[in-house]
Symmetry: D2
Subunit: 353 residues, 4 copies
């Protein structure tokens, strides 16, 4: 199958989300990353491209100008304030666009961009990553299929702890742009509240009509919101409570979405991302496990990564790094063990390995 020729804007080496995008592209091998303007810092942009073995450009303007029809698709992973401009240019140039969330820094920009996206024939998609989990998708399908009856209430709880301290003051890169209203727009609301809101709509298929938010900057001196509890009213009389916080000390990246209907309940939690729990009227819980991952049924989502770690060690070893690998001595020990067990079964006695 022809691979999709792709360029990336933002995502220089050392960042976080750019490399996630690249791994995601490689996993199924349908995108081929061929060019990039990987940083607003031109030197870093060029060095990052060299590291990745792709064609590098100091700016996305130059990238679009030079690559022209060599690329099919542009992946945008810059801070929020440049989303609108770059996405507009990419769509206008006829490229398909994969844009990291949230859409833009301001609502005004989003309205204009959405109109443009509507008019083009290009595919425009955003990485609301939680909707990529097979069990979140199954949750939606089951709710739309009526498995829990008419929906009554929804709760999404998204809590992180990484901004529990004012780390933006120490220049932590991820924190700095996310807590600068000029670059990010909203704070926790934009960064993770947008996921919470999207999950509420995605799983129920219902839109949100009204909100009443209690929004705080709980860390003294912070310039954007870092904690919010939002009461919501959705279509069909559904009510909901959405909490997003980045100052809940110790929370790694807790996301849960629960939807109660007249006939039952469905609940998903990021902590056990391969499971989907249905609870019936009588309290009986039925848990389904994902069989739509890339590893075979019964293997958790991390299986591919574990396997990749073995290959990483192999690559290291072959390139001269002294790491521990599972070598022939190990393989032999295992074979000797199997042999001893079978002998012990035959002789009904203890056997030396």
């Amino acid at each position: 199958m022809t691979k999709i020729r792709t360029a990336m804007v933002g995502g220089g080496i050392g960042g976080f989300i750019g490399e996630i995008h690249r791994m995601a592209m490689r996993l199924d091998d349908r995108f081929e990353l061929i060019a990039g303007a990987l940083s607003s810092d031109e030197t870093r942009a060029m060095e990052s491209a060299k590291d990745l073995g792709i064609r590098g450009y100091p700016t996305w303007l130059e990238l679009f100008e030079k690559e022209q029809s060599n690329i099919d698709c542009v992946v945008i992973v810059t801070p929020n304030d440049s989303h609108a401009e770059i996405a507009t240019a990419a769509l206008s140039a006829g490229y398909h666009v994969m844009l990291d969330k949230p859409m833009t820094r301001t609502l005004e920009e989003a309205i204009v961009l959405a109109e443009l996206a509507q008019q083009t024939d290009c595919v425009f998609s955003m990485t609301y990553s939680y909707t990529g989990y097979p069990m979140v998708r199954q949750m939606r399908q089951r709710i739309l299929a009526g498995d829990i009856g008419a929906v009554r209430t929804v709760s999404v709880d998204y809590r992180q702890g990484w901004l529990a301290e004012p780390i933006e003051k120490e220049g932590q890169k991820q924190a700095s742009w996310r807590t600068d209203p000029k670059q990010s727009g909203a704070g926790a609301l934009g960064d993770i509240g947008s996921h919470a809101e999207q999950l509420a709509r995605f799983t129920t298929g219902l839109s949100i009509k009204q909100v009443r938010g209690d929004v705080h900057s709980l860390v003294r001196g912070r310039k954007v919101d870092d904690h919010a509890c939002v009461q919501v009213k959705m279509e069909q009389g559904v009510v909901g409570d959405l909490v997003c916080s980045q100052v809940c000390t110790g929370e790694r990246n807790h996301v849960s979405v629960r939807v109660w209907g007249e006939k039952g309940t469905l609940a998903w939690s990021h902590d056990a991302c391969d499971a989907l729990k249905f609870t019936a009227h009588d309290g009986t819980e039925t848990i389904n496990y994902c069989n739509a991952n890339r590893a075979p049924s019964g293997h958790p989502a991390g299986f591919v990564e574990a396997f990749a770690n073995i290959y990483k060690d192999m690559a290291d070893k072959m390139q001269g790094v002294d790491v521990q690998i599972i070598d022939a001595k190990e393989g032999l020990a295992s074979m000797m063990w199997i042999d001893a067990v079978l002998r012990s079964q035959e002789t009904k006695s203890w056997c030396e390995v």
Copy 2:
């Protein structure tokens, strides 16, 4: 960084473990798969290679002969009975080797192969996949560092349910060769008991001295073992109990390893592969979570796969498949929600979205 030029033997399209190996290679992008003899069925071998866009060969003999020094590394994912022959040829040809477990069909073959591996300068590694989990590695490190004191006893419980019915009689491909002693050697002992045994040694750093196995074929008519409980005696007076079974109905792929020492206990379970639990004398449990995955701390191992699902949909959409994507309308709805929440905070009232 130069990529490692790699060939694969076995692993034709439609199989299970070959594709896992390929995804694992792509994830960190350090191996480049360039050639393959992907099936013992020549037609399937050639078609699979074409699908993958690599150079195909009808046999591994021809592959080695033609590719010569074009490849650095050979990945072997054939049934157990051909491991010895292919690995021997690959090492003799000067290739690095990644071999799927168990090492060989018989102990005799393993002894010879281990000697050969010892003599070459090639890297020889095996995919005992559980040792690829970061928290299994951390478990080993902490035990070797003395965190639980002198080890007393070890328990490994590995249970699957997929062979609970005699599905080999219906020609199920994975079941057929695994339950045929000529191709597989042992049954559950080789297929998963080898993992159990390896985990006991890997986590403790101790070798197994004696075993007493109670080995069964619980499904009537099965030609290999499908269930075993093995009492083991290890170095330093450590005792253990290892169970491996493929007939435990409903078990997806349960693997747990627990090691009790004089000062505390460490336990890991595949069901929660990102966690490592330490229990102190007084029963207090301390749970550490993985921060060595490719996703940032707090994201479970499945995060990369979820992200890849979003890209998969994007690729499908761009190539004309009608799938649901997170489009501009979705992105706009999210921005409108954020805007409404901030307005509601300002006005202290309910706001329309």
Copy 3:
């Protein structure tokens, strides 16, 4: 030790909370129930007393009049609308009072009763049962001791599903009075919201200053609230979100309280009532288990009940009911098993039991 002579008002046989109170009294054997006006239905009141083997009265007025100083303590477990009157009479008569929550039907009644309680020398206590859990108490102690630093935010989630259907229309006794505003006052807010609120204050030691509630009757035709999300502002700038609902289909009796501070987090859930979870800044979780139950450390809270089931069977058997007990044959089988295991150890072989 002298037992406390106790009378009960409300709690006739067949009800729910009265029997819980009686079991709680018996468990430590410090209260002796000697009299009761156990129902507003006089016949049921007298029959219930006879069943319990205590002195029965048709009304609490007569009970107080006749028993005078024979009783030390009155337990009140009637519907909310009679709490104020009975408690007032009991305190005025010089009795200690144990009152089921909520305090009264209306706030006005509560103000008057609280003043009276303040003025007497009698002990006045209420059964906010969640504060009886040892780990909820430990949570409070640790927060007051500064284990999580300054508190930032609190979340209490209390959801039941038993009123998910309009069962009050079918005359279900528990539902009927709880959904009748004349008897109960508020609905879910009074019945379980009161627990949620109490847990927020009890665990943090902080009072609530302001609230903004989104209150609903989600089941059509219900006369009281059955679902609420309340945003709260507490002392010291702490913010919180409290949800109470009785229409969350399938929820058995889910109560969780989580408190995030500047240095860490403490969380308790009714689903695992013997555990208290602390999460540090770096995401490491430390779980302490209760050792303050009546069973020895390591036994869950249900151990005493399991033991009581064995005695229940014994009593049944002795009184002619044909139930299965663990008889001598069972005991002997167990002894034969131990003997066989020891023989097998000696002979290193399989032994007949």
Copy 4:
């Protein structure tokens, strides 16, 4: 209903299991403890009886002689070595007997006692406490009813950590008699292996035909076994693995029993004693929760104990101990909160509490 007049032998104040027996008797109020020979130390025996407010005797001989037909039932909670003699005397005297497990110190004693129990009309029961859990009983019923098809294999894992150190050398009372072969017979095998074995038989309804045990005293210098792994062969070709250990550091009192059949699996764990998990062929888990406890459905087994803690505080307060109770001020605060929430709903605004 007439209460059963009961005497206890052993179980003096300060011990462990005697008080558990007494609480279990009181919970349902069908046994009335009226007399006791509560210790082999005569002074302690008399003082313990006085504390409990029952008739005390220095020896069980004197108890039986004096009480004659005043008692219906004798509860025996002495160390194992006196079980046979006392139980024999009690049965011979015509008393019903509740005997703590294991039955006797030696198999020979058990055989004689079982014969006697068979011949009398007295009820003879033993407190294998795990069979008292409602979900263990439900597990048995479902297996006998065929819910998992023909049973294939059973695993019982019972691990404690309290003997991980040689505490018997420091004179710890519970440890001393349990590790003295003269008083206890076997060590871990008798103390908890007996529970493991009983659970295997109780849940499956199958007897054990053969065993092969690997039995150890892992703590240096211990006179009885403290760790064992037992391979078992049961009726109908069922195989099993039973582990019991008292030296697994940090294990509080872990007991799990899992039974795999041809159609599915049932599993119960003491850690979540109110739940029973069924796993179907396809890996879907269905969890049922107990509704046979004394608290209403949805309340965990610990609810009664939590309630009793509230009463304990009340009793303390009334008897002059300065403990915190949920007083009128607390009750009022709760009422004010409810009122404020309802006002905020009406005014759609924040309200002062």
